[in-house]
């Protein structure tokens, strides 16, 4: 812990550098031609192009959802965005030696190893990484090791070619392109992302991870992730993201779909650290993400854990549809906003099967001039017998120029449900701060300590490597927020 605290010296965004990688980009703007261009670049089969075009046509009829979220931002000019940017391939990549060394350096700088070596000792702490830069996946590690177990872990583009039957079966089954404005946009223009399939009865032996990096100026990032755990399968999946510091607002609109079959379990963890903009609110990523999973089979379990510290705007509600009987959904979230950041984030738990259970723990921290909202839905459908939900939403305010808001929606259509929701809003106690100071801690360290304690319940849910990263991030994000 003390090592972590020692690292809180610079309040600068650490990942703001740009890399000089030769990129190939599409012209600005969005049209059917651009979609054909993307599809052609990726050498896609017709069915994929057709899916994109349908989504695009739907998107054109939809309106930007601005009326309900507690967010305030100028209208986005969707014609002023580059929808495709990829590092120029020198030749077909067969081994790591052929990846542009500048690219390797980029990921090294981000602390992501694309070398297939065991990072610590033992298999447990090994992580397989899919590295995505702007529109394409540049490298997926440990593919062969995983393949031995029958696990498919590759880029989405590769899955379209290699496993079309799985992609066709599951893509859009949880988040149809008609779902919402940004899901439709993503379905039309998504460029890459990760694909993962855990076969029957297989426990994935290592953490799977995707690292997203926006690099090129003026581009949007639209990735799509699809994870399927077949009967009795298990995987823990991590997602991390960063972007260079730029004065412009870059758009990120991702879709994540997860299907969990009978007796299977997926743990999905995110540390979201897109560039949040500078201290005056200039620049930063607009993060509009649709994440949803379905506990399709009986006794299945899906758990979302997120630590949100980045982005100028966050609009994100990782959800679980509890269709299988006895299925379990979990959502653990820490969202930090500082300076002029705005976050509207939470979850949806849709109970359909019998004896389904869900837990929501949300910890919001607002500082500076930021606004931080929890928005969550718990719906107990008619006939969802003996459903249980417990939600705890806490907000911590630091300073009197920020806002902390809680907007839960609780819809109950079955009498056997027991649903409990609790929310509190408070500030860091003066007496807690004084107590820490009396024991020799300065304000910044005292705040970091108290905040980490406040978030403990959520941080504990993260895999070890991520938990350490997340604690550091929290401290850095709140730098200078208590005077």
């Amino acid at each position: 812990m003390s090592d972590i605290l020692e690292e809180i010296t610079s309040s600068e965004y650490k990942y703001g550098f740009t890399s000089n990688i030769e990129m190939e980009t599409a012209p600005k703007g969005l049209s059917e031609d651009i979609i054909r261009f993307i599809s052609q670049k990726k050498n896609e089969p017709d069915w994929m192009l057709e899916f994109r075009l349908q989504a695009f046509r739907k998107w054109q009829t939809m309106e930007e959802p601005k009326h309900w979220a507690h967010l305030n931002y100028p209208k986005i000019d969707f014609q002023d965005i580059i929808y495709y940017a990829a590092p120029k391939p020198k030749k077909k990549l067969n081994s790591l030696d052929e990846v542009d060394p500048e690219l390797l350096k980029t990921f090294e700088k981000l602390g992501i190893s694309l070398e297939e070596q065991k990072r610590l000792s033992g298999v447990e702490s090994t992580i397989a990484v899919d590295a995505v830069i702007d529109s394409v996946s540049v490298k997926t590690t440990f593919k062969e090791v995983l393949a031995e177990k029958g696990i498919i872990f590759c880029s989405f583009s590769e899955a379209v070619h290699e496993h079309p039957e799985l992609v066709k079966k599951y893509m859009g089954s949880v988040v149809p392109y008609t779902d919402n404005y940004y899901a439709a946009l993503n379905s039309a223009v998504f460029t890459d992302g990760s694909f993962c399939y855990i076969p029957k009865g297989v426990r994935c032996p290592m953490e799977l991870s995707t690292y997203f990096r926006i690099n090129t100026s003026g581009t949007g990032q639209f990735e799509r992730t699809l994870i399927i755990a077949d009967e009795g399968g298990y995987a823990s999946y991590l997602e991390g993201c960063t972007a260079p510091s730029r004065d412009e607002n870059q758009l990120h609109a991702a879709v994540v779909e997860i299907i969990v079959h009978e007796n299977a379990e997926i743990k999905y963890s995110t540390v979201q650290n897109w560039y949040p903009g500078d201290k005056d609110g200039k620049g930063g990523v607009y993060n509009f993400v649709t994440k949803r999973g379905i506990c399709f089979g009986d006794n299945s379990k899906l758990s979302w854990t997120q630590v949100e510290t980045g982005s100028a705007i966050t609009w994100k509600y990782p959800s679980v549809i509890l269709k299988g009987n006895n299925s379990v959904g979990e959502f653990y979230s820490v969202a930090v906003t500082n300076n002029y950041q705005q976050a509207d984030t939470g979850t949806k738990m849709i109970h359909l099967g019998s004896n389904t259970r869900s837990t929501i723990v949300s910890k919001g921290i607002s500082a500076g001039f930021s606004n931080n909202s929890y928005r969550g839905l718990v719906r107990i459908g008619k006939g969802a017998k003996n459903a249980r939900n417990f939600s705890q939403c806490d907000s911590l305010l630091m300073g009197d120029k920020c806002g902390a808001h809680t907007f839960p929606y609780i819809e109950i259509k079955d009498k056997s449900a027991i649903v409990e929701h609790e929310a509190t809003t408070s500030k860091i106690g003066e007496d807690q701060l004084f107590y820490c100071k009396q024991r020799g801690l300065d304000t910044e360290k005292a705040v970091a300590l108290i905040v980490n304690g406040y978030c403990k319940e959520v941080l504990n849910k993260l895999p070890m490597e991520f938990a350490v990263e997340a604690q550091k991030l929290l401290a850095v994000s709140l730098e200078g927020s208590v005077g």
């Binding site: 812990m1 003066e430 100071k437 009396q438 024991r439 360290k445 108290i450």
Partner: protein, 252 residues
């Protein structure tokens, strides 16, 4: 060790300490007694640097330095420890983690390297035994869900870990049963040495049966009105505070 001269302080316009004087030499134990509202806890908080109080006059020299000029954390780093009357709960932060962070900060201030993990754990074990604190408590969140007695023992445990030169015990005996009182007092006694001083603030005499002071001071209306040897505490116990109050009022 500490020299307090004509200290005046209060909250807002209300003056609570009205010219307080006290001199504590290394190794001495001073007891400050007094009725409710006499300003005992205010004294403890002002010395520790709580921002709610304003100092309007007087000076405090601590180990040759101007104490009032220092931030609360620097006072702690210089070796001043306050055992709180109401120890604060910090959810999610384990005792161990908390102490390790504090210790590192204090050592860094003194230009010392961080303590080695194994030395730290050895120290924790040793000091826990001092206050008969169970190992499991050290891993729980700071004071969260602790009983009143456990909280007070935890304060003494922290004191043992941070090894201050001056410890102020603010009504550490309040709310303790006789067993807990004995444990707390034993802990304190084991930490007494020729370089470490204590200021024991208490309302009742009974703590002083266990922690025998070198001097007893009676505080009333923001000042020390009577000082004497340890026997003064017994006299107070017998006669009650009304005796002091009456004496004071006659003077006025």
């Amino acid at each position: 060790m500490i020299s307090i001269n004509n200290l005046k302080a209060g909250i807002g316009d209300k003056e609570i300490l009205k010219g307080f004087n006290l001199n504590v030499k290394p190794g001495e134990v001073h007891a400050i007694m007094g009725p409710n509202g006499s300003g005992k806890s205010t004294l403890a908080n002002v010395l520790a640097g709580k921002e709610d109080y304003t100092v309007t006059d007087g000076s405090v020299t601590f180990n040759g330095k101007d104490l009032l000029d220092m931030s609360p954390e620097d006072r702690a780093r210089e070796g001043l420890f306050l055992a709180f009357q109401y120890p604060v709960e910090i959810p999610g932060v384990s005792n161990i983690n908390f102490l390790k962070t504090c210790l590192s900060e204090i050592r860094a201030y003194k230009g010392l390297p961080p303590i080695e993990a194994k030395d730290f754990l050895k120290m924790v074990k040793e000091k826990q035994a001092l206050v008969e604190l169970q190992g499991s408590l050290a891993n729980r969140s700071v004071n969260e869900g602790f009983s009143g007695g456990e909280k007070k023992r935890n304060e003494i445990f922290q004191m043992a870990m941070l090894e201050p030169s001056l410890a102020i015990l603010d009504e550490t005996d309040s709310g303790l049963d006789i067993d807990a009182l004995r444990i707390v007092a034993n802990g304190v006694n084991k930490l007494r040495d020729k370089n470490r001083s204590f200021v024991v603030i208490t309302h009742y005499q009974r703590l002083l049966d266990y922690i025998v002071p070198d001097f007893v001071h009676v505080m009333y209306n923001g000042q020390i009105v009577k000082s004497g040897p340890k026997e003064l505490a017994l006299e107070l116990e017998e006669k009650g505070y009304d005796w002091i109050k009456k004496e004071e009022e006659q003077v006025i």
